[in-house]
Point group: C2
Chain length 134, copies 2
DNA sequence: ATATGATATGTTATATTATAACACTTTTTA
DNA sequence: TAAAAAGTGTTATAATATAACATATCATAT
């Protein structure tokens, strides 16, 4: 079974649906709170669903915010590397397509005699919308 | 008073000393455990020292590991942006000098109509030493 | 169709990481 | 040397995440 046709379980679907509807990244306990009406009662149920969704690349974790976000890319093969633009004003997150970034980091790593495997990049600043509002 | 001549308090010195001696990043509670003999008894004492050390750029946090590392650079002005090479085999961390990286990210951000402010970059892979051991 | 192995679930308990609140002390500076 | 700013010590608690275990469901190879 390919990644993209991966069948999700009910819990996984519930968590992914919520994340896909959300405009900002969500914390695990915020997810839990939101989906308690759907029968999910314990943190572990959320974390397990998140683990799986991350593994198949449907969700990414934003480490510096302990938050989770649905992947914007169709057929994202990236269960590992992630690159984000995070607006400090409105908390919106944009995921960067990562091919050129991975290549750039691999090159940078070579200079340090380091074998690149994957990366997390979190860029903070002001997004388009918030720039315009000022 | 300039950043580099900043005078540290006893707690701050104790925490920084430990981090500077360590070859790997340390977690806050590992720091606490190690320095209890020096009279530091509570997590908050560690976190407060870390906060200050991070603020003045002497220590950085590695977000994906909830760990802290002393800055390798003299007069590091970077209390904000950080870039690391993290060895998945031995956990050693190398801090990348960030000037060209910041410039690169600022450029990449412009393409998304995003105003770059700072970044965290965590590159995972295999370090020089571990590559050679294989 | 069914045994079996892999994966997921529900649940309770607990581990790990981090901060709030408050009274007090030390340092800096005007 | 008083006032402001920064740091300390302490207790309690919040926020984030995992362990352990019994049970259930699904995939698939005979």
């Amino acid at each position: 079974m390919t990644l993209t046709s991966e069948k999700l379980t009910n819990n996984q679907k519930t968590v992914l649906d919520l994340l896909e509807k959300s405009k900002e990244p969500l914390k695990a306990y915020a997810i839990l709170f939101d989906i308690q009406k759907k029968g999910i009662k314990a943190p572990l149920q959320v974390y397990r669903a998140l683990d799986k969704l991350i593994e198949i690349g449907k969700v990414h974790k934003i480490e510096s915010k302990n938050s989770y976000i649905a992947c914007e890319h169709k057929n994202c093969d990236s269960s590992t590397s992630t690159s984000f633009l995070i607006c400090e004003t409105c908390d919106q997150v944009t995921e960067l397509k990562k091919k050129n970034l991975s290549e750039y980091f691999a090159k940078q790593s070579v200079q340090a005699n380091f074998k690149y495997a994957k990366h997390n990049l979190e860029i903070y600043g002001v997004c388009k919308d918030c720039k315009n509002k000022k």
